[in-house]
Structures are given as structure tokens and as C-alpha cells.
């Protein structure tokens, strides 16, 4: 609400036809607002670097490097051979942060997808159809919200986390617990998004363009997904961005507590498991994976903040 109308001298006098540049498109306007947000740019760049680190690192280390144990080289402090040191069974921490980063980011992205799909479908159904369906869906949403997420995650991780077969994706072998973690994070984080989407639908469905679409006989499915949903994309995109950060943190919490992704698959979270037992002797055990999680979450949060300002200038807080 603070768009200052302050045209430089000449432009104010010209009529639109005389302006040399054509008006900016929505995308260009968004990009302009986003660019002004320096921290968001910083976040975006850092995030790209982190992605390069996790995926580019594959060129220098193989997954076997990340999982090879050298019991003779346990708990070595950072050195030339092992720039980030070695862990309790002699694995190279640098290589593990690279492969762990891939899994952490994979979990962040896919858990966000689960969250967005569920949140949008449930929020849209509740908001659009209203009535009994709305109250049923909202009761379920509240039921998930009233139990703190970490408790739900731990109960579900324990419930679904039996012995699972390994899965093979993109030439990598992952322990099946990765899928469980993705699903439970997605399943416990959609309610907030569903509430946002529902609120959007409640107000948007009263608009004239919806009435017009109805009058021309547009099927309900199309009204929901082609007329209303695109209009509520801004908060969904912002929530999805922040959802990635939340999912990465959530994975780290569960893994830190020992119920997350099972070894040998590394994630930034499970590298921290038990690391606090070595707080006095081996700081490199927890510092590097912890720092990478913090950096990732920080840059995603900055990015999300910038996106919020850029996509939806009205929501800008003071």
C-alpha cells in the first residue's frame, strides 16, 4: 500500500501513446519488485550455490566415497584429505554433506509437493462447495493442527517406519524411509495451506467472473482450476516456498531424534544424530551439516519473503 507516485518530471506530461516503452507485463512487474528485495536476491543466489554444491559435488565424489567407512580414520579433525573431517566410523563428512544435501533437498521439494497438492485440493473443495463438506474437511484440518507437528511426525515416523525395502532412483539406492519421511511431512503440514486456500476461495467465488463463468455453462472443475485457482496463486507460491524450508527442518528434527532416514543414506539431518554426544571433542561432526541446513532454510525464507512482497504487494506488512 505504499506505492509512491513520484514520476520524474518529463513522464508525467506525456500521454500513454507517446511513451516509448510499452507497459510492463505482470511478470516484469513482479520481477522488478522482487529485484528490489536485496535479501531475496541474496537468498536466491545462495540457494543456487547450495544446489550446485549438492549436485555438482557428484562430479568429485562418488556415493561410495560418502558411505565408505575407514575405522582407522575415526573422528579426524578437518585436514587436507578430509576438509570437513571424518565421522564416528571414519566416513568423509564433505562427501556425506554433498549426498546428504541431495536427499535433504529432495525431501524438501517432494514433501512440499505433497503438502501443496493436499492443501490446494482440500482447501479448494472446502471453500468452493461449503456446507457439510466444508465443516467435515475443516474438522480434519483442525484435528491435525491441534497436535504440535513434531509429535505427529514422531508418532507417524514410528508407525510407518518399519523395515522398508530400498528403492532405486536415478542410479542411487535410497533407504525406503526416505519415502516415509516425505509422506509424513507432507501429510502433517498441509492444514495451514488448506486454510489459506479456503479463505481465498471463499472470497473469490463471490466475484462476478465466477458468476459469468457459471452463466456460460463452464463445468465446476474448470471454474475451480482455471478461474479461481490462478487468482489465488500468490499466497500458494509463497506458502510452498516456505514449505520447502519447513520440510527440510522437519526432516532434520526427526532424524536428529533418531527416527528419520535410516543409514547408510545420508541426509543433513541424520548426520547430526548423536553428534551432540561429541560436542566437546568433535565440533565438525555437527557444524557442517548444521550450517548447511541453516543456510538453506535462511535463503529459502528470504526468497519466500521476497516473493510475498513481489507477488502480492497488498500483503506487505508495514
Amino acid at each position: 500500500m505504499e506505492s509512491t507516485i513520484n514520476p520524474s518530471k518529463g513522464i508525467g506530461l506525456l500521454t500513454p501513446d507517446e511513451l516509448e516503452t510499452p507497459p510492463l507485463s505482470l511478470g516484469e512487474l513482479t520481477w522488478r519488485r522482487f529485484r528490489r528485495h536485496k535479501m531475496a536476491i541474496f537468498g536466491g543466489v545462495t540457494l543456487i550455490l547450495l544446489i550446485l554444491y549438492s549436485f555438482g559435488g557428484m562430479l568429485f565424489f562418488t556415493e561410495a566415497d560418502a558411505n565408505r567407512t575407514e575405522t582407522g580414520a575415526r573422528l579426524q579433525s578437518p585436514s587436507l584429505a578430509h576438509p570437513f573431517g571424518t565421522d564416528t566410523i571414519g566416513r568423509d563428512i564433505l562427501a556425506r554433506t554433498i549426498y546428504g544435501g541431495q536427499i535433504s533437498m529432495l525431501i524438501g521439494m517432494t514433501a512440499m509437493l505433497v503438502e501443496v497438492i493436499m492443501g490446494v485440493l482440500i482447501g479448494a473443495a472446502a471453500g468452493f462447495f461449503g456446507g457439510r463438506l466444508d465443516s467435515l474437511l475443516m474438522r480434519i484440518t483442525e484435528a491435525i493442527i491441534v497436535i504440535p507437528q513434531i509429535f505427529l511426525l514422531l508418532v507417524m515416523a514410528k508407525f510407518f517406519g518399519g523395515s522398508l525395502p530400498n528403492i532405486h532412483v536415478l542410479g542411487r539406492t535410497l533407504s525406503g524411509s526416505v519415502v516415509v519421511i516425505i509422506l509424513i511431512i507432507g501429510l502433517t503440514s498441509w492444514p495451514y495451506l488448506a486454510r489459506i486456500v479456503r479463505a481465498q476461495f471463499l472470497s473469490l467465488k463471490e466475484n462476478d467472473f465466477v458468476l459469468a463463468a457459471r452463466a456460460t455453462g463452464t463445468p465446476t472443475f474448470e471454474i475451480i482450476f482455471r478461474h479461481i485457482l490462478p487468482n489465488s496463486m500468490a499466497p500458494i507460491i509463497v506458502a510452498a516456498t516456505l514449505g520447502v524450508a519447513n520440510a527440510i527442518t522437519a526432516e532434520a528434527y526427526i532424524s536428529f531424534l533418531g527416527l528419520g532416514v535410516r543409514p547408510p543414506t545420508a541426509t543433513w539431518g541424520n548426520m547430526l544424530e548423536g553428534a551432540y554426544n561429541y560436542i566437546e571433542s568433535a565440533w565438525w561432526l555437527w557444524f557442517f551439516p548444521g550450517m548447511l541446513i541453516a543456510l538453506t532454510v535462511l535463503s529459502i525464507n528470504f526468497l519466500g519473503d521476497g516473493l510475498r512482497d513481489a507477488l502480492d504487494p497488498r500483503s506487505r506488512s508495514a
Partner: protein
């Protein structure tokens, strides 16, 4: 208003029912409560069968849920294993306030198991909440009064950075600096484990000293959210007509800021605090684990892995009820503080 409250309370009943069924079903796959019961291992299979029967774990899950919900004193149960139910049940069920007894700490009522830990958790969490509110008020008011100043921007950046740090990482860093390195450098260092030094005993000063790091860990992340909230609420209030009127009347600045603006800005803040309070009951799972604080978060962690259904269910249902109640309280409080709001 009364009708509104009653309607909200009635809505909570199906909600709690859904939660309890889902959680109860999930708790059935949590590992073997008999394996670690009371610190001893039950090896003989006849012994196992007897204990399973006595604890009612041999019943189908819907019967177990029913007994948990309404008790089993209206029916007879089979204790001696001859297939004939002969003894009268003694459980009253959670609906009549009987949370049952812990499976892990054999025979100790759940209420006592949770109660013992709840005291520690509330001590930790309420202190942290107090630190958060006071700190966030100071930061938020300062930021609002000096909007876009260098310090305001610096505070925003720092709190945002802290907000993004995962709790365990912050905890490990402060432990490393204030406990490990301070000890190394011969400075007075902060303790990192437990509530008190067993050699000194549980004195208030010991407990306070042991609380420093956990409280810092718990509060740092919330400064960002709360202070941003207070900042924008204050900015909005400061732009209102009544503040301009107060200024025009020539009132002293502190009176304008703290009486006219802050009082009005406090409305939404009160609601936010009321909504966050019940979550304190659950403690902080990660923080309590790292600092070995004997609170409800750690209780949950220890008992969930051993499949102690009564304790875990008791704890989670207690949190759920508190969250729902505080949601209603927050709504009522808001309407009471701001008479413009009416509920139907």
C-alpha cells in the same frame, strides 16, 4: 456470546474423537511395551502371555480403545487365562478422568507420570515465554519508533537469521561456546545437562543456572516472529487518528506511545500469545532432548518409542484439549478487549 462458546465446545467433541481414534490406532505399532517394562526384560513366554492379558493388550484394538475411552468396570475381564472372564474391570476410562496407568513405569498412574514432568516443562516454557514477550516487546516497540533506521534494519536481519536457524543447531552452537569453550578458557561456564548438579542438589539457584541455555534456545527463534508482529501492530496504531489527536493535545511522547498506541497494539498480540500458550504443555522435544531437561517433551520421546499408549495418549489429548480451549479463550478475550467484535 454464551451460545458461541457452547457451539465451539460442541464442535470440539467430534474433533477430539477423530484425533483420539487416529492416534490410538497409530500407537499400536510402536514397539513392544513389555520388552522394557519396569526396567526388566520379560523372557519367558508364559510370563509374556500373562502380562499381555493383564494389561489387556491381547484384546482387539477397538476393544482396547473402548476400554481406554469409557473404562472396563462395566464388564468382566479374563485375568487367569482360562478363557472365562471372571474378574471385574477396574478402569474407568478417560471420559471419567481415568487416564490409566503407564505400561513402562508399571502401575504408576498416567496423571502422576505426566504431572511430575509437567512441572519441569512449565517452569522452563513459561520462563522462555516471558523472555520472549519482554524481549519482543522491547525490540518491536523500538523498531516501530525508529522505522527503517540502521538499527531497525539490523534487528530485522538478525532476528530473521535467528528465526531460520534450526533449534538444535542454535543449541549446539551455544553449548559449544558457553559450555565447552568457556570451560576450556577457564571462564565460568554454563551447565548443559539436566536440571541441577546432583552433588549440589535441587536448589533454586542451581535450577536457574541450568535453565539459561535451554531458555535461550527456546526463545531466540520466537523473537523474530513476535517482534515483527509487535512492530507492525505498533506502526498501525501509531498511524491512527487517536494518536494524532493525542499528539495535537500536546501529551508527552511516552504517554502517547505506551498508553495510546501500545494498549491498542496489544490487542492482536494478546491473541497470538493466548494461541501459543497451550503448545508450551508439550514442552520442546528437541530442546529437552539436547539439554536432558526432564520435561514432557522427553517423556513423550521416551514413552513413544516403547509403545506406552496410555502415557502418550494422555499427553497428546491433554495438549489437544488445551489447544482447543485456548482457541476459544483467545476469541473470547479478543471480543472482550475489542468491543467492536461480535460473534454470532
Amino acid at each position: 456470546m454464551t451460545r458461541y462458546i457452547i457451539r465451539r465446545l460442541l464442535q470440539a467433541i467430534p474433533l477430539l474423537f477423530i484425533i483420539s481414534v487416529v492416534l490410538f490406532v497409530m500407537m499400536q505399532n510402536m514397539g513392544d511395551p513389555l520388552a522394557t517394562m519396569g526396567g526388566r526384560t520379560v523372557t519367558r513366554s508364559s510370563e509374556r502371555a500373562r502380562l499381555t492379558r493383564q494389561l489387556g493388550l491381547d484384546k482387539p484394538i477397538y476393544v482396547q480403545y473402548l476400554y481406554w475411552l469409557v473404562g472396563n468396570d462395566w464388564t468382566k475381564i479374563d485375568l487367569d487365562g482360562d478363557g472365562v472372564p471372571e474378574s471385574a474391570g477396574r478402569r474407568q476410562g478417560i471420559l471419567r478422568g481415568d487416564f490409566g496407568t503407564s505400561l513402562v513405569n508399571r502401575g504408576v498412574p498416567v496423571v502422576k507420570v505426566i504431572g511430575d514432568r509437567l512441572v519441569n516443562t512449565l517452569l522452563l516454557m513459561l520462563t522462555a515465554e516471558l523472555v520472549i514477550i519482554v524481549g519482543a516487546l522491547l525490540i518491536g516497540i523500538y523498531s516501530a519508533l525508529h522505522q527503517y533506521s540502521v538499527l531497525d534494519n539490523a534487528i530485522t536481519a538478525v532476528t530473521f537469521f535467528l528465526y531460520s536457524l534450526p533449534v538444535f543447531f542454535f543449541a549446539l552452537i551455544v553449548m559449544y561456546i558457553f559450555a565447552v569453550n568457556f570451560k576450556r578458557w577457564g571462564l565460568p561456564y554454563l551447565p548443559t545437562v539436566g536440571m541441577f548438579d546432583p552433588q549440589v542438589g535441587k536448589t533454586p539457584s542451581q535450577v536457574a543456572w541450568h535453565m539459561v541455555l535451554p531458555v535461550a534456545t527456546l526463545s531466540f527463534g520466537f523473537f523474530a516472529a513476535y517482534s515483527r508482529y509487535i512492530r507492525s501492530a505498533m506502526l498501525e496504531a501509531l498511524n491512527q487518528d487517536y494518536v494524532r489527536t493525542a499528539k495535537a493535545k500536546g501529551l508527552p511522547r511516552p504517554q502517547i506511545v505506551y498508553i495510546h498506541a501500545l494498549k491498542n497494539a496489544a490487542l492482536p498480540i494478546v491473541t497470538v500469545v493466548a494461541l501459543d500458550l497451550p503448545f508450551l504443555l508439550g514442552g520442546a522435544v528437541v530442546t529437552e532432548r539436547i539439554f536432558a531437561w526432564p520435561g514432557t517433551g522427553r517423556l513423550f520421546l521416551d514413552h513413544v518409542s516403547r509403545g506406552d499408549t496410555p502415557v502418550v495418549m494422555g499427553l497428546l489429548m491433554m495438549i489437544a484439549v488445551a489447544v482447543i480451549l485456548f482457541q476459544i479463550i483467545a476469541d473470547v478475550l479478543y471480543a472482550w478487549l475489542d468491543p467492536r467484535i461480535r460473534y454470532k
